[in-house]
């Protein structure tokens, strides 16, 4: 049974009176509680998703300011704008912020916001867990900046290699701040991932079979599966590191003298760290696919190929981590295998690029800001990919390891591959956030300026790396001849800063004063554009029945909608995994303050663990009561009236349709 068969069985229509009645009931049912408690306890995926995106962009700006400080320091040789210790703290915090607090959370935030809208449902499968994830992420981020502002920020790099970060050399609580931040943000990522996967598996609108899922949703699911198998490595790693460092525990995981292995830290970190790159990049490819389809005004070329290349990238992404460790004494044969697998990843990425090119080539362009950003993405990302192939080669990497060539490479891949599509996506989806459009002229200006600034900063770094400038040095001598290129890079940084400022002003101004947006300003194809801008809290008044891969473009005149869901409790339709045949009615819990309290306890437990192991048992006892409150409130307020199972026949065929008279 697939979506087509479902739509054939329709026989009734909707009346105006009933619709208005149901809409008002939905508005009430899905509303947040009032006041500050209500604000803290919301379970609306759109609000949580937006908070995540907003917070991540705040961290992006903070991380950008740190980058600007580094560029100011490196502008001239022998500069003393920053001291060596300050510089160490700043580059560590910059890297950690951009990876843990910006790139991953912003992609999750986009998923939390748009996945339910794109698959035609009203909520994530576990809405309370969702808000818990946001708070743990927020506390982790605040912890990191708390350290930096008190001049006790972590200073061992975003990868915190032992023994530099171990108990012997990592003085004070600096690295502990880093490791607890990592644990908290990874809890958040894991929660969001499990939630997104189950949502996409079980809550898709009827008719949205696997081969009709929008590509952005596919990208979020594939990313979520990667998170589930990659993030535990760094969580375990950072926990072991903090146990090694904690005086009364003093384990010996990374202590060579007692049988530990410092190299094992690198394995743990990069087994997470390399998939992390794809965890950031794959959602961005989803965004690129959505934007290219909407702005080429044609169906996506190679849908199946695009899905499979994302899956392939995810698989291969787990088999390349050792290329970060080519200068460690690992067996040569093993290193060669990792060279091969690192080069292999070019294949799926190449296929992706060609599918997008084919779509663009045969489409009718609507050249607006989102598409301009995607074109910029091609320019930067392809070049980053090419230097990636170079660095995959063991002998070349041995030469270039820890030089600015690597810095150039990963900024090309991460800014080109993730930030450019992300900016495009923000311009694309901004109307859904607030009901207004971003300014086009400012948008094009932002895109072009950002591109030029980016090339000015990072292109010279290739050359700097080739002529031998190492990473993570706070200054250099005039005789090295690195001064001119560094000056160009620093000038470029100011151009990037101006471009970002243009974006921020545009966003703030247009939030209040922008052009009012219709439901589907771009004429795009996915379900979120069938909703008003901004989207009401209940999302879909009637969950649609999906008739094709491009849900809006392939919709028939009288496309059927789902009725018969309770409007007085938070109910959605749960469908089968493959063909999205209606299976059962699923009601989710409403807002609760307990997730906030549980996240406070979790935060306190992890912060306490920097000082005493007793925070673990104490925290677990507190969590026991926290979760007791959570589960108890789960079942008291928002349960549908109990109906014995006999009254609910097990579903086999689509339910009988009732005729409702249409108004004259």
């Amino acid at each position: 049974m697939n979506g087509k068969d479902l739509s054939k069985k329709q026989s009734s229509t909707l009346s105006a009176g009933r619709m208005e009645e149901e809409r008002l009931a939905l508005e009430q049912t899905w509303a947040d509680k009032p006041g500050i408690i209500g604000w803290l306890s919301t379970t609306d995926h759109k609000r949580v998703g937006f908070r995540m995106i907003f917070t991540a962009f705040c961290f992006f700006v903070f991380g950008g300011i740190l980058a600007a400080l580094m560029r100011m320091q490196l502008m001239f040789p022998n500069n003393h704008f920053l001291g060596p210790d300050q510089y160490n703290q700043i580059f560590t915090t910059h890297g950690s912020t951009m990876m843990f607090l910006f790139a991953v959370p912003v992609m999750e935030g986009m998923g939390i916001y748009f996945v339910p809208l794109m698959i035609g449902t009203r909520t994530l499968a576990f809405p309370r867990l969702n808000i818990l994830g946001y708070y743990t992420y927020l506390f982790g981020g605040l912890l990191l900046f708390f350290g930096l502002l008190l001049n006790i920020g972590p200073d061992a790099g975003w990868f915190a290699y032992v023994p530099l970060s171990g108990p012997e050399y990592g003085i004070g609580k600096r690295v502990d701040l880093w490791s607890q931040m990592v644990s908290l943000t990874e809890i958040s990522a894991l929660i969001a991932s499990a939630n997104i996967i189950v949502t996409v598996m079980k809550l898709r609108a009827p008719g949205m079979s696997l081969n009709r899922i929008p590509l952005f949703v596919w990208s979020e699911v594939i990313t979520a599966v990667m998170v589930i198998f990659a993030m535990p490595a760094v969580m375990i790693g950072s926990s072991l590191l903090s146990m090694d460092r904690l005086t009364n525990v003093s384990t010996h995981f990374f202590n060579q003298a007692e049988g530990g292995d410092p190299i094992m830290w690198q394995h743990l970190f990069w087994f997470f760290g390399h998939p992390e790159v794809y965890i950031i990049f794959i959602p961005a490819t989803g965004m690129v696919s959505m934007i290219i389809t909407a702005f080429s005004r044609r169906k996506t070329f190679g849908y199946t190929a695009l899905v499979l290349t994302m899956v392939a990238t995810a698989f291969i992404g787990f088999g390349v981590w050792v290329h970060h460790m080519f200068v460690t004494p690992l067996p040569q044969l093993g290193q060669s295998i990792f060279t091969a697998s690192s080069m292999l990843i070019v294949v799926p990425n190449g296929v992706q690029i060609f599918c997008w090119m084919a779509t663009l080539w045969t489409g009718k362009w609507n050249l607006k800001t989102p598409l301009v950003f995607v074109l910029g993405f091609f320019g930067i990302f392809v070049m980053g990919g090419l230097t990636g192939v170079m660095l995959a080669s063991l002998p070349l990497d041995t030469q270039l390891h820890d030089t600015y060539f690597v810095v150039a490479h990963f900024h090309y891949v991460l800014i080109g591959g993730a930030v450019m599509p992300l900016f495009g996506a923000v311009y694309y989806w901004f109307p859904k956030f607030c009901g207004r459009m971003l300014n086009e002229t400012a948008g094009i200006f932002h895109a072009v300026l950002f591109f030029i600034g980016f090339e000015l900063v990072f292109f010279p770094m290739h050359i700097l790396g080739l002529i031998g400038m190492p990473r993570r040095v706070y200054t250099y001598l005039p005789e090295t001849g690195w001064g001119d290129l560094n000056l160009i890079a620093s000038i470029g940084a100011s151009v990037m800063a101006i471009a970002t400022a243009v974006f921020l002003v545009n966003a703030v101004y247009c939030w209040f004063r922008g052009k009012v947006a219709p439901a589907n300003p771009w004429g795009a194809d996915t379900l979120e554009w069938s909703l008003p801008s901004p989207t009401p809290q209940y999302g879909f008044q009637y969950i649609p029945v999906v008739q094709g891969r491009h849900a809006i473009w392939e919709r028939t005149e009288n496309a059927p909608v789902v009725t018969g869901l309770h409007v007085n409790n938070r109910e959605v339709i749960s469908t089968s995994i493959h063909d999205a045949v209606p299976d059962h009615r699923y009601s989710v819990q409403g807002p609760s303050i307990m997730p906030f309290i549980v996240s406070l306890i979790t935060g306190a437990m992890f912060i306490g663990f920097m000082f005493t192991p007793w925070s673990l048992p104490l925290g677990m006892i507190a969590l026991f009561f926290g979760f007791l409150g959570w589960f108890w409130s789960n079942s008291v307020e928002h349960r549908p009236p109990y109906a014995p199972l006999e009254d609910n026949p097990i579903y086999e065929e689509p339910a009988e349709l009732k005729a409702v008279e249409a108004p004259a």
Binding site: G260, R585, F631
Partner: protein, 215 residues
């Protein structure tokens, strides 16, 4: 879309569909399984860590001395007691399966009795875990071997605690509020969690207590 957009649209009425389902049809079951996938990844990494420690320790096992005395003792972990505990773990599957079946049969007594039984076994196993730590003969801060074995046992112990808490929540609910369809699903999902705890322990037992003998 305003109301007008829906006028005349056909409808797919789902009001007769059930509101509770079991196993792969239910969302909670999948949520639980993906959660367990995360935890399985955690144990996978800990197992890899154990082998890494094995590779970096040249004298396997590391020597064990009595504090203050230069007397060498057998460094191998005890086998008898942990094996008895393993058998206990396997036996504990019986009440969990009974619980699972009772939930599907809507057997209220079976569910309540099954919950009490699983909780009792769970607590017994938690007490046993204390002596299993003892059976290792190394402290967590003696060397990397001690660190990794304590961490493996400790991680697994956290799951025993979480399971006990979950049992307690559902039991409280069952005795105070009674059991409804939603909690019958919770019970089957809790049973799945218990199967997973027992299943992982089989591998971890072999690694921790046989590893020193055969690696």
């Amino acid at each position: 879309m305003t109301n007008e957009g829906f006028i005349g649209r056909k409808t797919l009425d789902v009001s007769t569909l059930p509101s509770t389902t079991f196993d792969e049809r239910s969302n909670l079951w999948w949520g639980n399984n993906w959660g367990l996938a995360i935890e399985t990844a955690v144990f996978g990494i800990l197992i890899a860590l154990y082998f890494s420690v094995r590779m970096s320790i040249s004298q396997w096992l590391p020597p064990r001395t009595t504090p203050g005395l230069p007397v060498l003792q057998n460094p191998l972990p005890d086998l008898t007691f942990p094996t008895i505990v393993l058998v206990l773990f396997l036996i504990s599957l019986a009440p969990a399966i009974y619980l699972d079946i009772s939930a599907r049969r809507k057997d209220v007594f079976g569910m309540k009795f099954g919950m009490v039984l699983t909780l009792a076994v769970n607590i017994v196993l938690l007490v046993c875990r204390y002596y299993e730590f003892d059976a290792l003969h190394f402290k967590w801060n003696d060397n990397a071997y001690g660190s990794v074995t304590w961490t493996i046992l400790g991680m697994h112990m956290i799951h025993l605690f979480v399971m006990a808490a979950e049992d307690l929540y559902i039991l409280l609910w069952a005795f105070i509020k009674g059991i409804d369809d939603k909690h019958r699903l919770d019970i089957t999902v809790a049973a799945v969690y218990w199967y997973w705890i027992v299943g992982t322990w089989i591998f971890l037992y072999i690694l921790v207590f046989w590893g020193p003998r055969i690696l």
